[in-house]
C-alpha cells in the first residue's frame, strides 16, 4: 500500500512533468529534465528542512518559509544580483544569517509560538526589504521581483540543475546520518543531553545543514511555501516517524509534490507559466489548516 503511495507521489508527477504533451526528445533533455531536477531537489530539500525544523525546534508549524530562512535567502540573492555578485553566494549568506537570527530567537524566547511569530516578523521584514530594493531600481524589474517572491521556477541549463540536485542529495545523506540527534532533540533538551547529545550544538548544525540547500535553490526558484510544512506531516501520518526514515521519505514525497505543482503551474493556463509557489499555496493551505485543526483538536 505504501509502495503504491510512493509510486503515486513520486513517479507519476515526474512522468507528467517530463512527458506531458509528448514533446520531442531535445525539449525533454534540454528543458524538462533540468526543470524536473530543479523542482524535485527544491521540493525535497524544503521538506527535509521542514522535518528538521519541526523536530529541532519542537514546533509543528516550523519550516524555512514560516521562519524567514527562505525570505532571508531571497533577500540575499536580490542584494547580490543588484551589486553584481553571484546570486548563489548571496542567497547562501542570507539563509545562514537568518539561521543565526533564528537560533538567537530560540534561545531568547524558547516558546514555540513566540519563535513562530518571530519568524513571521522576519519574513515580513525580508520581503519588504526585497520590494524596497526593487523600488530603488527601474520599474521594469518590479514584476520580476513579485514573481521571485512567489516562487517562479524558470528553466535553467542542465549542469547547474544537476549540481543543485546533487548538493541536495549530499545534505540529505548528511542529515540522515545525523538523524539520531534530531530524534533525541525532538524528545526534549534534557533527554538529548543525558543521551550524549549536546542539544544546542546539534540543533544549530541541523538547522544550518538543512538550510544550505534550501538557500541555494531559493537563488534559482524564489520562495516556495507550504511544501515544508505539509509534507513532513503527511509522511509522519504514513507512519515514518524516526529521522532515518522520515528524512529520505520526506525528500521523495516533497520532491514529488513540488514537481506536481510545477506541472500544474505550467499546464493550467497554458501558454502562461504561473509561479509554482502560487500552486503550492493553493494546494497546501487547506492541508495546512487541516493539520492545525488536527493538532489543536488533539490537544484539546
Amino acid at each position: 500500500m505504501q509502495k503504491l503511495a510512493f509510486f503515486v507521489f513520486v513517479l507519476i508527477p515526474s512522468a507528467f512533468l517530463l512527458f506531458w504533451g509528448l514533446p520531442p526528445k531535445d525539449i525533454v533533455l534540454k528543458l524538462r529534465l533540468p526543470e524536473l531536477l530543479l523542482s524535485f531537489g527544491f521540493g525535497g530539500s524544503l521538506s527535509v528542512a521542514g522535518s528538521v525544523f519541526q523536530g529541532a525546534l519542537r514546533n509543528p508549524l516550523a519550516e524555512p518559509y514560516t521562519l524567514g530562512t527562505a525570505a532571508g535567502a531571497a533577500l540575499g540573492a536580490a542584494l547580490a544580483s543588484v551589486s553584481g555578485f553571484p546570486v548563489e553566494w548571496g542567497a547562501l549568506a542570507g539563509g545562514i544569517f537568518s539561521i543565526f537570527l533564528l537560533f538567537f530567537a530560540f534561545r531568547v524566547f524558547s516558546d514555540p509560538l513566540s519563535v513562530l511569530l518571530f519568524g513571521v516578523g522576519l519574513t515580513a521584514f525580508f520581503s519588504a526589504s526585497i520590494l524596497f530594493l526593487y523600488a530603488l531600481f527601474p520599474v521594469y524589474t518590479l514584476q520580476e521581483a513579485l514573481l521571485f517572491t512567489l516562487g517562479y521556477i524558470t528553466p535553467v541549463a542542465l549542469s547547474p540543475s544537476f549540481f543543485l540536485f546533487f548538493i541536495s542529495l549530499c545534505f540529505l545523506a548528511l542529515l540522515t546520518f545525523r538523524s539520531r540527534g534530531l530524534d533525541l532533540i525532538s524528545l526534549g533538551d534534557e533527554t538529548a543531553f543525558f543521551s550524549g547529545v549536546d542539544p544546542k550544538r546539534e540543533r544549530f548544525f541541523l538547522l544550518l545543514f538543512s538550510s544550505i540547500p534550501v538557500s541555494l535553490f531559493v537563488a534559482y526558484c524564489g520562495v516556495v511555501g507550504f511544501v515544508g510544512i505539509v509534507v513532513p506531516h503527511v509522511v509522519r501520518f504514513m507512519g515514518y516517524r524516526r529521522g532515518n526514515f522520515l528524512l529520505p521519505v520526506s525528500f521523495l514525497v516533497g520532491g514529488g509534490a513540488l514537481v506536481f505543482s510545477q506541472w500544474l503551474a505550467r499546464t493550467l493556463l497554458y501558454p502562461t507559466v504561473l509561479p509554482a509557489g502560487v500552486v503550492t499555496a493553493l494546494l497546501g493551505v487547506p492541508l495546512f489548516l487541516y493539520i492545525l485543526w488536527r493538532y489543536t483538536g488533539g490537544r484539546g
Binding site: K30, L31, V139, P155, V156, Y270, P271
Partner: protein, 251 residues
C-alpha cells in the same frame, strides 16, 4: 557556361536567404507593433498573450512578457526572437543557450523607438528608412497638436493606484514635447505622490489607464482610451496622438 550560371544562381539564392529572418517570435506587444509597421507581420509566428488587434490573428501565443513559455518558443523553431529589456535575463540566457538567436532592445525614449524601428526594418524588410519615416510622421502628428498644447504644463499619469507617471524622458513625454508641451516631472517613468502632482501645477493631467483619477484641486483631467494605443512604445502611438487631438482640441 551552365556551371557558371548555376554558381551565380546558388550565390544569389544564398544571399537572398541570409537577407532575412522568416520565423520571428516577439516577446513584447510594442515590438510586435513595430514589426507590423515595417511590413513584416507575415514573418511573425509567435506573440505574447497581451497582444491585441489585427496583427495577432492566427499567431501562436508564447506566454507573457516577464514569464515567456520557453518550451513553446523552442517548439516553434524560430530563427529570431525579439525581446525588450523587460524580459528577465534568465529567460533570454536560456533561449540563447538553446541555440536560438535573441535580440534584446531597450524601449524607453522616443529615440529608442525610432532606432529599433530602423533596425527591425533593416533586419526584416531591408528598409532602414522606416525609422526616419516614423519620426517624420510623429513630428507631423505632434505638430497638429501644438496649437492646443504649446507651453502647457502636462503630467502623463499611467496608473492611479499607485500614482505612476511617464515623465519628460519617456517616449510619451518626448512625443508631447515635440508638440510644444512642457512635460513634468523630469524623469522617465516614476512613482509620484498626489501632493507632488498638485504641486507641479499642471494645466493638463492626461490619464491613461484603468479606473478613475480624482486628484484634489481643480486639475483638468483628460482620460484617454484605449490604453494600448498609448502604452506601447511603438508606431501605435500615432493612433494615440490622433485620439489625444480629438480629446484635447475639440474646441
Amino acid at each position: 557556361m551552365k556551371g557558371v550560371f548555376f554558381c551565380l544562381l546558388t550565390v544569389f539564392l544564398f544571399t537572398l536567404n541570409s537577407f532575412g529572418f522568416d520565423r520571428v517570435v516577439s516577446l513584447s506587444p510594442a515590438l510586435t507593433d513595430i514589426i507590423a509597421y515595417v511590413g513584416a507581420e507575415k514573418k511573425l509566428i509567435g506573440v505574447t498573450v497581451f497582444c491585441s488587434g489585427e496583427v495577432c490573428r492566427g499567431k501562436e501565443r508564447v506566454g507573457g512578457i516577464v514569464n515567456p513559455n520557453v518550451e513553446k518558443i523552442y517548439n516553434l523553431h524560430p530563427d529570431l526572437i525579439v525581446a525588450t529589456t523587460m524580459t528577465p535575463e534568465k529567460d533570454v540566457d536560456i533561449l540563447k543557450r538553446l541555440g536560438l538567436e535573441v535580440l534584446v532592445f531597450r524601449l524607453v525614449s522616443l529615440e529608442d523607438v525610432v532606432n529599433v524601428t530602423g533596425e527591425l526594418g533593416e533586419l526584416l524588410s531591408g528598409n532602414r528608412a522606416k525609422g526616419k519615416e516614423l519620426l517624420k510622421s510623429m513630428e507631423r502628428e505632434a505638430f497638429s497638436l501644438s496649437n492646443c498644447l504649446k507651453g502647457k504644463r502636462t503630467v502623463i499619469v499611467i496608473s492611479s493606484k499607485p500614482l505612476y507617471v511617464a515623465g519628460s524622458k519617456s517616449y510619451l513625454g518626448e512625443v508631447l514635447e515635440l508638440a510644444g508641451a512642457v512635460v513634468v516631472p523630469d524623469t522617465d517613468f516614476s512613482a509620484l505622490s498626489y501632493e507632488a502632482l498638485i504641486r507641479e501645477k499642471p494645466d493638463f493631467v492626461l490619464f491613461i489607464g484603468r479606473g478613475s483619477l480624482q486628484p484634489a484641486g481643480n486639475l483638468r483631467v483628460v482620460k484617454l482610451e484605449p490604453a494600448d494605443d498609448f502604452l506601447h512604445p511603438s508606431p501605435r502611438i500615432l493612433k494615440g496622438i490622433e485620439k489625444l487631438r480629438r480629446a484635447l482640441c475639440k474646441n
